[in-house]
Symmetry: C2
């Protein structure tokens, strides 16, 4: 999905929910989709303010759940105190796992379609219906261990 198309989808989602397409919400959208990488709420605030300096922290925190619910953003919790978000360009149907490098502080995403099967199998045994599944691998960087620097770092 292209960025303009996603922007239109966001607009439509807002209208459909009886919400208003304010400048701030659209600036936050643009900030989120300008970088194709993971970001925190704070980073998103900084960037959204470069587009519209009236955007406040509160509005960012209020907009993030809306964008997550509309599956324009995916929430990525790596258990580090703060949550990460990332544009969900594919449309949100793909199952992905995160590989978090403890040296680079980088988050890689890997397709992991078997997760869905696993969730269903395990849940049905417990009398549950799966909603979502998260697989996360924490790892150390080989290059960092050998040379003391990580090529991906920065």
């Amino acid at each position: 999905m292209s960025i303009p198309a996603a922007r239109e989808k966001f607009r439509r989602f807002l209208v459909q929910k009886g919400l208003r397409a304010t400048n701030q919400r659209l600036a936050i959208f643009d900030a989120a989709f300008a970088k194709n990488d993971h970001f925190t709420a704070e980073q998103l605030l900084d960037f959204a303010r470069q587009i519209d300096d009236s955007v406040s922290r509160a509005t960012v925190y209020r907009t993030l759940p809306i964008m997550t619910e509309s599956s324009l953003l995916r929430e990525v919790d790596i258990g580090s105190g703060e949550k990460f978000y990332r544009p969900n360009v594919e449309g949100g149907r793909t199952q992905v796992a995160q590989v978090v490098c403890l040296d680079c502080d980088k988050i890689f995403e890997i397709s992991a379609p078997f997760m869905e099967w696993y969730g269903s199998t395990v849940s049905s045994k417990l009398g549950l219906t799966p909603v979502s599944q998260r697989l996360q691998v924490s790892a150390h960087c080989d290059a960092f261990r050998q040379t003391g620097t990580c090529p991906r770092r920065g």
Copy 2:
């Protein structure tokens, strides 16, 4: 591993690390192992105080990492603001996935040995060495959806 054996292991771990086997640390241990279920830091504090009412919140928070490092406890982060812990009776070698029921608020643990394989496979492609992996399934309770109550709730 029996509870007395685990208690002895904890004592030995403390001594070996040059730490002291204080009454508070042992009360926290006893509280953690008295219930065979997940608990939060706050719940552990309550329960430890029933054993030794001099235990403070700070000491609980300072003791939890020690017990986690000694692999007597396992940390379970379901991305809900607060962390959960659970006695690691088997010894910590087993790979487990968590199934979290969104209706019951209960955490089930399921053996998932393939996770280790997955972590290694994916990490090596990225030039990383896996340290740990977490798989978590969020699900709704079928019984709750049909009857409005969940038998496991409470």
